[in-house]
C-alpha cells in the first residue's frame, strides 16, 4: 500500500508538478516544430512515451546493475546514448513488423526521437534523483512521456487557434509559440508545492 502511494505520488509529480517541458526545459525542439495540429502532436507524444519508457527502464537497469557494480560510471553518458539509439531502432523494427498501421501513423517522428533531449534528460534525472527501485524508474519514465504528450497537445490546441489570430509579422511562428509556452509554464507553476 505504501509502495503504491509512493508510485502514485511520483507519477503525479512528474506529469504535472515537475513537467519535463515546462520546468526542466526538455524536449523543446520537437515541441516547437511539431505542435501544429493536435493529431500530429498526439502521435509524436505517444511515440515519445513509448521510447522513453523503454529507454528509462533499460538505462536504469544498465546503470544500477552493470555500471555501478563495475565502477564504470564515467562511461555513463556514452552508454546511455547508445542504449537510447538502440531502443529507438528496436522500437522502429518491432513496430514495422507487428503494428504496421501504427508505424505509418508515427511516420518520421520515430528516428527523430533519438535527438530528443527529453529522453536522455529523463535518464539523467532518474540518475540524479537517486531512484533505487526498478518499478519507480518505470513509473517515472512512463509519467514523463505522458507529461510530454499532455504539454504538446495543449500547445497544439492553442496553436490551432493562434492561426486565426492577428499575430504581428515578426512574431509569427517560433516567437509566439515560445511566448505561449512561457504563459503555460507560468500556469503550471500553480501546481508547485502540491506534492511533498
Amino acid at each position: 500500500m505504501d509502495t503504491l502511494n509512493i508510485l502514485l505520488m511520483s507519477f503525479i509529480s512528474i506529469v504535472i508538478v515537475n513537467n519535463l517541458v515546462f520546468t526542466k526545459f526538455l524536449g523543446i525542439c520537437p515541441y516547437l516544430g511539431v505542435s501544429g495540429r493536435i493529431d500530429m502532436a498526439f502521435g509524436m507524444g505517444m511515440a515519445v512515451t513509448f521510447v522513453v519508457t523503454l529507454s528509462g527502464t533499460m538505462t536504469w537497469m544498465i546503470d544500477n546493475w552493470i555500471l555501478m557494480k563495475l565502477g564504470l560510471e564515467v562511461t555513463r553518458y556514452v552508454c546511455f546514448i547508445l542504449v537510447i539509439a538502440g531502443a529507438v531502432q528496436l522500437v522502429e523494427m518491432y513496430l514495422r513488423k507487428f503494428f504496421p498501421s501504427l508505424y505509418d501513423s508515427f511516420g518520421i517522428f520515430l528516428p527523430l526521437i533519438t535527438t530528443n533531449c527529453a529522453i536522455l534528460g529523463l535518464c539523467l534525472f532518474i540518475n540524479l534523483w537517486g531512484i533505487n527501485s526498478l518499478l519507480e524508474a518505470v513509473v517515472l519514465s512512463f509519467g514523463a512521456g505522458i507529461g510530454f504528450t499532455m504539454a504538446i497537445c495543449i500547445m497544439a490546441g492553442i496553436r490551432e487557434n493562434l492561426n486565426l489570430a492577428d499575430v504581428p509579422e515578426c512574431l509569427k511562428g517560433a516567437p509566439i509559440t515560445l511566448i505561449t509556452a512561457g504563459l503555460l509554464a507560468m500556469a503550471f507553476m500553480g501546481f508547485a508545492g502540491m506534492i511533498r
Partner: protein, 210 residues
C-alpha cells in the same frame, strides 16, 4: 596569390556565418533546450558556451579526419559516439576545475550530446569538408552560440537580480536602491518569454535588412 586570398575570404565567410546569418539559435532554431535552461545568469551561460565550443571543435576535427572512411549507415552512430566521448571529457574537466558551475549546470552538460547544433554541423559541414574549414565552422557556430547565450543571460540576469556576472550594477530596493527585481525572469516563464521576444526582434531586424 589569388588562391590563398580566396581561401582566406572563404574562411572569414564561414566564421562570420555562424555569428549572424546562420546563428544556430536565432536563425536555425537549434539547441533550444540548453539555451533556456542555463541562461539564468551569465556565468553558467559562458561556461556552457565554452563547453559547446570545445565539443564542436573536437568532434568536427575527428569527423573531418574520418570523413572518407564513413559508411552511410554507420554515420550517425559514429557521430554520436564521438560527441558523447568529448562531452564526457568536458564534463570531467568542469567537475574538476569549476565544481560550482558544474553543479549549477547539472544534467545540461551531458545534454550537449543531443544538442542538434553539434550533430547538424558534423553532418552538414565536417563530413564534407577538409580539416581547416571544419575547425573554422565549428569556431564560428560555437562563438555565435556562446554570444547568443550570453546576451540572453545578460538580459535575464539584469532583470532578475540587477547584477551582471554577479557584479551588482543596478542597486536593489533591499540595498537602498530603486530596482525591484523581476523574479519571474529567473524562472521558466522568463526564459520562454525572453527567448520568444528576442527571436521576434531578430526577425524584425532581419526583415528590415531585406
Amino acid at each position: 596569390m589569388t588562391n590563398s586570398n580566396a581561401k582566406t575570404a572563404r574562411y572569414w565567410q564561414t566564421l562570420l556565418a555562424g555569428l549572424w546569418r546562420e546563428n544556430p539559435v536565432f536563425r536555425l532554431l537549434l539547441g533550444m533546450c540548453p539555451t533556456l535552461a542555463v541562461t539564468a545568469a551569465v556565468k553558467p551561460a559562458l561556461t556552457m558556451g565554452c563547453c559547446v565550443i570545445f565539443v564542436l571543435i573536437c568532434s568536427n576535427i575527428i569527423v573531418s579526419l574520418m570523413r572518407n572512411l564513413l559508411k552511410p549507415h554507420l554515420r550517425i552512430l559514429m557521430f554520436t559516439l564521438t560527441i558523447a566521448t568529448f562531452v564526457t571529457i568536458a564534463d570531467l574537466f568542469l567537475k574538476a576545475f569549476v565544481p560550482r558551475m558544474s553543479e549549477m549546470l547539472g544534467p545540461y552538460v551531458p545534454l550537449i550530446i543531443v544538442n542538434c547544433i553539434i550533430i547538424c554541423r558534423a553532418e552538414a559541414c565536417a563530413s564534407k569538408n577538409g580539416l581547416a574549414v571544419s575547425i573554422i565552422d565549428a569556431l564560428g557556430m560555437g562563438i555565435g552560440f556562446t554570444l547568443t547565450l550570453c546576451v540572453l543571460a545578460g538580459v535575464r540576469e539584469i532583470l532578475s537580480t540587477g547584477a551582471l556576472f554577479e557584479i551588482q550594477i543596478i542597486r536593489l530596493g533591499s540595498q537602498g536602491g530603486w530596482f525591484v527585481p523581476w523574479a519571474a525572469m529567473s524562472m521558466p516563464v522568463g526564459a520562454f518569454i525572453t527567448l520568444g521576444l528576442m527571436l521576434g526582434l531578430v526577425n524584425m531586424v532581419g526583415k528590415k535588412k531585406t
